[in-house]
Symmetry: C2
Amino acid sequence: MKLTTRGRYGLRAVLDLAVNTGNEAVSLSEIAERQGISMNYLEQLIAKLKKSGIVQGIRGAQGGYVLAMPPEEISVGDILRALEGDLIPVDCSELNSGDTPCINSDTCVTKYVWKRITDSINDAVDGIKLSDLVEKSKEIQKEAGIAEANKTKQTC
Amino acid sequence: MKLTTRGRYGLRAVLDLAVNTGNEAVSLSEIAERQGISMNYLEQLIAKLKKSGIVQGIRGAQGGYVLAMPPEEISVGDILRALEGDLIPVDCSELNSGDTPCINSDTCVTKYVWKRITDSINDAVDGIKLSDLVEKSKEIQKEAGIAEANKTKQTC
DNA sequence: ATTAAATCCGAGTATTTTAATAGGAATTAA
DNA sequence: TTAATTCCTATTAAAATACTCGGATTTAAT
């Protein structure tokens, strides 16, 4: 029941992008350095975010990435699902229409459990917008003093 | 963000035990057969449940397992945590006191996300008691007709 | 036109986790 | 005494994860 580094790194990357976007696009190398994540790996994560329409790539020199939408319109749920796939605790046809119908659907009781977990997770992450995190981030930066940079490798 | 077979099989095993307990203990081979789970594997799962004080083993011939508490006092959360470990989406010191304190705790913003997810999952599973599932199971059995047995291998 | 900075794309790989299997020791009712 | 059963530990095949690597393509700046 863990998120992978895809979700963890990826969310931090999008937040970094949102916080550090000015007039110009933000390059992957900048994000990778600030967040202490390998650029090669980050590349794969941002590809997923691009495919889901969360970020937009700008090719060529001085290129980079920008958010494809205003941060108010991007939920943490959108980001995590782009990176991790559907946030469902089990492969169950009652939760995922893509699955072949379950033979035991009639007598299955645990499906109620899986449904509750699924809904609670998705409600939670959809209730948080990227803009909320950006705001929180700016508050915290103010409190901690702008000088204090992010030098250490973070795992979550 | 998936439960493993430990959580899925294990919950089904406990439910099977709860539903099929009469005056005598229920043997693992019975549960394994009814649920279509390898007995050797189930053994490992039930060991975790025993360690967490959810079931009690009765050794020797005609032995088996019984619930260590009435099903009203066992939550699905208790069962899943016994099988999967803490239901937390990331290894973060803000969520798990066992972790070494995070260096970035001051400037970390994603921790708010992890906290919300953690709380929502645990609230959801702690709100469902084993007795709720047993009841549901009996309702469904009645509807489906008692004759219809669980012959197929179920994955969730 | 050339160069350098960047995204884009697909292949390969070491490590870890999962999902088992296997074998045997200990216990106890019949 | 036997058979049924829990209990315990070790091993292993397959899958997933978390990367690394090499190169093609695009484009702003010179």
